[in-house]
């Protein structure tokens, strides 16, 4: 029922885009959108129709900074049990990776959900469990929901959650690339709704469409953006109406607000982006790994960690180059031997490009 497959409709959409005779560049910020585009050959199809769609900083694992990775590595080496999602484990840091530490005997666990990490803490009271919490607004409420329930005191969170709208603004303010429209991430939007994107259309006159993840969803989103541009409009439209309500998920928003407050943070490839990260409120300081293990983390608190040598993940994340333009792509950097996070994560542009160009 929730699968949209209709070849005739797809052909009609593409033919209407072609008829518009445009040369436009859109950006999306979601690895799942990129996967749908490439898996179905929509990127090429749309490019031939005058619409180029590229991925911006839409991969939570990829935008996690080298410093944050170093923090988790320090905690692992200090004997904490680290739990995180699979992709995060494999991202190389400046000195090692969680996967490497695991092979060296440190305690690193892959979990599917933050709840698995809490269960570990309940089961192993003798261990200190640190959950590396990455993810945008889709994932942040799951962390908040768990902390509201007051998990055991041997559980804590290294919070690396980030917010999408401030990153969109940062890209526009940096002015490095031309963006004619944004395709907004459907599942982030199930939580935040449409309103948080309003200022982008109002202040920057950029049309936006919230889109789902079926091929038809992305084709429709591209068509809706083209249509707005033809009509001289710049507004937030919702293509993913079966899942996204304009006000979002208010319960999830409320829970997030109770537990987190916004903070200025760096993103990989970006300078500090104001109010784009989340930090635990003081009430939950007991669960904040950065406060709880301040003494262990102090040794890297002032250190600067740079990108791996030759890695252009930053440029890929800002949409300046395609993965194939990176000299390391497919040569020094592959999914089996990744140099940067964009080749590690299944949401990363380089990983997706590599997977589908091999087929």
């Amino acid at each position: 029922m929730f699968s949209l497959r209709d070849k005739t409709l797809a052909d009609d959409i593409v033919s209407q885009i072609k008829k518009a005779e445009v040369h436009l560049k859109f950006m999306h910020v979601c690895g799942t959108h990129q996967d749908t585009l490439m898996k179905n050959g929509l990127d090429v199809l749309l490019q031939k129709s005058g619409v180029e769609i590229g991925q911006g900083p839409g991969c939570p694992v990829c935008v996690t900074t080298p410093k944050e990775i170093e923090e988790v590595l320090v905690l692992a080496k200090e004997g904490k049990t680290i739990a995180s999602f699979g992709d995060m484990i494999r991202v190389p840091g400046a000195t090692s990776s969680l996967q490497q530490l695991k092979t060296e005997g440190y305690d690193v666990r892959i979990v599917y959900s933050i709840e698995d990490a809490v269960m570990l803490a309940e089961k192993h009271k003798e261990k200190e469990i640190v959950f590396m919490a990455v993810g945008f607004e889709t994932t942040a409420p799951t962390t908040a929901s768990v902390l509201l329930r007051r998990p055991p005191s041997n559980f804590s969170v290294l919070c690396c959650h980030r917010l999408i709208p401030p990153a969109l603004q940062a890209i526009l303010d940096m002015g490095e690339i031309k963006i004619d429209g944004f395709i907004e991430p459907g599942h982030v939007s199930t939580i935040i709704g449409a309103k948080p994107y309003d200022f982008i259309s109002r202040d920057y006159h950029i049309p936006q469409v919230i889109a789902g993840f079926e091929p038809i969803d992305l084709l429709m989103a591209a068509w809706m953006l083209v249509r707005q541009i033809q009509q001289g409009k710049a507004e937030v439209q919702n293509e993913y109406i079966r899942a996204v309500k304009s006000q979002g998920n208010k319960k999830a928003q409320q829970i997030m607000k109770q537990v987190f407050e916004p903070i200025d943070v760096k993103w990989r490839g970006f300078p500090m982006i104001p109010q784009s990260g989340l930090v635990l409120r003081n009430k939950y300081a007991l669960y904040d790994a950065r406060k709880k293990y301040e003494d262990e983390l102090i040794k890297i608190s002032e250190a600067e960690f740079t990108e791996p040598v030759g890695c252009l993940c930053g440029e890929v994340l800002r949409g300046l180059i395609s993965s194939k333009e990176c000299p390391l792509f497919g040569r020094g950097c592959t999914p089996d031997n990744p140099v940067g996070p964009c080749m590690v994560s299944s949401e990363g542009n380089c990983n997706i490009q590599y997977r589908y160009s091999k087929q």
Binding site: M1, Q16, I114, R242, K251
Partner: protein, 76 residues
């Protein structure tokens, strides 16, 4: 990362804030439902073990028809 899978709620444990979600083809898993208000029979999107939104069945059924209508209005 932001991947979410649709499934149908077949059982709810209100005390534990969990529900059994049927993803079709015999795949059933427990999901946390503390972020949504659900009842048995609802379709939800599940992300990282949590239901993050209730899907609108009516909107889903009418989506393709709506898209066709939007395109035909453009052609007129």
């Amino acid at each position: 990362m932001c991947l979410a899978i649709p499934g149908k709620i077949v059982e709810i444990d209100k005390k534990q804030h969990t529900a059994t979600v049927d993803y079709g083809s015999g795949t059933k898993r427990k999901a946390n439902v503390s972020l949504v208000e659900v009842k048995i029979g609802d379709y939800v999107l599940v992300h990282a073990g949590f239901a993050i939104q209730v899907l609108d069945e009516k909107e889903a059924q009418e989506t393709l028809a709506l898209f066709r209508e939007m395109l035909s209005l453009q052609e007129e």
